[in-house]
């Protein structure tokens, strides 16, 4: 698999806290091809954002990263060091964050910020950089691009700011874009516009896109491949068709079932996953989802590896056959309990 743009094998991130080591990311392996949209789905605290940040080499203090392999387009990122990573970031890998209000520096104009990114990585004249900035602002659907270059972030609405962030991420024609909840803070109509824009740009520039979100609706519509994370681990990954058409892990099934939809009888109980995400401090044994799982049994106490074919569908559970039969029932709104 040399054609892989991003190839991560067994990534682990541990954060030292006052209460002990917190294993935020455990043995996460993922591969993203050129032009592919890879979605990482999960709830808060599952480790999806930390995974993204550690891919970029941006990690919180007191966090330690360990990986068997971290290849980006043929280069080993673990050997790059800080200055090498800085050359990659913003240039070949770029990132969009959730909060468009705080991701732009309020004291510089849009134009300055856009051109700075480019001029930090390549020798281009200011005029050329401004030319590209105007071109990209236009591309992300901002009218009067040239006037906007002279404006300050506070003069723009949230939706416009996030467009500027996308344009900024595109300045150096990256090969890989990592977007962490890029539309969560925005209204639904703007969200749809921006995601469509993101997908069109990705296809046009043949970028790899890693999209991190908790919103299964978005994932179902945009993803080529999906990794579902729970409590620091990937519990299931595979193609979008497989994950939504034939979810095998009880967590994925529960997550899909508990979204309100017209299929559920109105004003009646929705299926739900009881309990809450376990604390990651101190480390968990066996299946992390065990305590909330309707099918839990003694053998779930043992360590479980991802099973299945990597290209199509993998899951971290001992009972795929039974769970998939039960899922059919669950989808019809019945609650399943052990």
């Amino acid at each position: 698999m040399d054609s892989m743009l991003l190839d991560i094998e067994k990534l682990n991130v541990t954060i030292d806290t006052a209460a002990g080591p917190l294993k935020a990311v455990q043995n996460v392996s993922l591969r993203v091809a050129k032009g592919e949209t890879f979605c990482i789905v999960g709830e808060s605290g599952c480790g999806k954002s930390i995974t993204a940040l550690s891919l970029m080499g941006l990690m919180p203090k007191r966090a330690k990263r360990r990986a068997e392999r971290m290849m980006f387009d043929g280069t080993d990122m673990t050997t790059l060091g800080e200055s090498g990573m800085r050359r990659l970031r913003g240039n070949r890998i770029s990132m969009i964050f959730q909060e468009p209000m705080t991701s732009l520096n309020p004291v510089f104009t849009i134009g300055q910020q856009l051109t700075d990114v480019m001029r930090a990585h390549s020798r281009v004249s200011l005029a050329e950089a401004r030319e590209r900035a105007a071109f990209l602002l236009n591309k992300v659907g901002i009218t009067n691009a040239r006037e906007r270059l002279g404006q300050f972030p506070h003069e723009l609405s949230g939706g416009l700011r996030q467009r500027v962030m996308i344009a900024m991420a595109l300045m150096c024609s990256p090969d890989l874009m990592i977007a962490d909840e890029p539309t969560t803070a925005l209204d639904v109509t703007i969200q749809a516009e921006l995601l469509r824009l993101l997908r069109d740009l990705q296809q046009e520039f043949e970028m790899g896109l890693v999209l991190i979100t908790h919103d299964l609706g978005i994932v179902s519509r945009i993803a080529d491949r999906i990794a579902v994370m729970y409590a620091g681990q990937i519990v299931e990954d595979g193609t979008a068709d497989e994950i939504f058409g034939n979810p095998l892990h009880p967590y994925t099934q529960g997550l899909i079932a508990c979204i309100p939809s017209p299929d559920h009888p109105r004003m009646q109980h929705l299926p739900s996953i009881p309990g809450t995400v376990p604390p990651l401090i101190g480390g968990l044994k066996g299946c992390h989802f065990r305590e909330r799982c309707p099918y839990a049994m003694p053998s779930c106490m043992e360590e479980i590896e991802l099973k299945g074919h990597e290209a199509a569908h993998r899951y971290r559970c001992i009972l795929p056959a039974q769970t998939s039969a039960a899922h059919a029932k669950m989808a019809q709104g019945e609650q399943v309990h052990a």
Partner: protein, 289 residues
């Protein structure tokens, strides 16, 4: 049709914006909003940011005095009623359970505080009522002495609901009650709200930008845009046969789980957006009430 408990009529509200050189400018948040809430229904208010949905919920609660118009609770204007009287009838559940619970007070203290403020019962009785309220919302009374930071988001929202219920109100206004919560916890809280409604005969006003939550929960829906109610109808009708172009836009852009459906194409609706800007929306459909 059951009686009207909360009657919002012709509410307009202006916020004072920063004063410029030519004097104060004001921003219109609500424009002639009228809404009748009947006993036992769940009214959903949907809209995007700036639509005025949060402002109207604060006005219903008496937390904001509107520039013009009246809100009547059981036929009496709430501006004539004291805060304490309103508090016994209408309670509020906030969006962010991390911000709505005082970090310096224990859970038991937070839940029993309304009783204390209203001087109901002795402190022993108040504590007992708080433990019962914890039970009602599905929490163990072991957390009675815990502090909010020791609870998860879903547990905090349950605590907030317990606090809202302890005065035995009739109406609960929920401002985005699940939008700060994870999906798997969201359905737990929605189920709880449905159970409580049956158990205590509650009337809900649910404000949300999440259309699927509103579709699942509400019996009647008001769609707000730029400070106006643009469409008001029973839930089935709104979601199966929307009339107002903005409602259609909103429904089209909602991203429900639909593998392979792709991202809705908003380029067509960009014209529609422009259209909406030029022709201020008016109410297009009513419930016969």
């Amino acid at each position: 049709m059951p009686e009207v408990v909360l009657n919002v009529s012709n509410i307009s509200h202006f916020y004072r914006a920063a004063s410029g050189f030519w004097g104060r400018r004001s921003v219109r948040a609500l424009d002639d909003v009228s809404l009748k809430i009947h006993r036992g229904e769940i009214v959903g208010i949907v809209g995007e940011s700036g639509s005025g949905k949060t402002t109207i919920s604060k006005i219903m609660m008496g937390l904001l005095t509107p520039t013009s118009g009246t809100v009547e609770l059981d036929g009496r204007s709430i501006s004539e009623q004291s805060r304490r009287d309103i508090a016994r009838r209408i309670q509020f559940v906030f969006q962010d359970p991390y911000a709505s619970l005082n970090p310096r007070q224990s859970i038991g203290r937070i839940i029993s505080q309304p009783l204390k403020v209203h001087g109901i019962g002795t402190s022993v009785e108040q504590a007992k009522a708080a433990r019962e309220a914890l039970d009602v919302v599905g929490l163990s009374s072991r957390i009675f002495d815990a502090y909010p930071n020791q609870l998860s988001g879903g547990q905090r929202q349950r605590v907030a609901i317990a606090r809202a219920l302890i005065l035995k109100p009739d109406i609960l206004i929920c401002d985005e009650p699940t939008s700060a919560l994870d999906v798997s916890v969201q359905s737990q809280v929605l189920n709880l709200l449905l159970d409580l409604r049956k158990e205590f005969d509650l009337t809900y006003v649910m404000v949300s930008h999440n259309l699927s939550v509103i579709e699942h929960m509400a019996s009647r829906v008001a769609v707000m845009y730029l400070g106006r109610i643009v469409e008001l109808n029973v839930s089935e009708a709104i979601f199966s046969a929307p009339v107002h172009p903005y409602t259609k836009l909103l429904l089209d852009s909602a991203m429900t789980v639909a593998p392979g459906a792709g991202i809705p194409d908003m380029r067509i609706t960009e014209e529609l957006r422009e259209n909406l800007r030029q022709h201020p929306p008016a109410i297009t459909s009513f419930t016969p009430a």
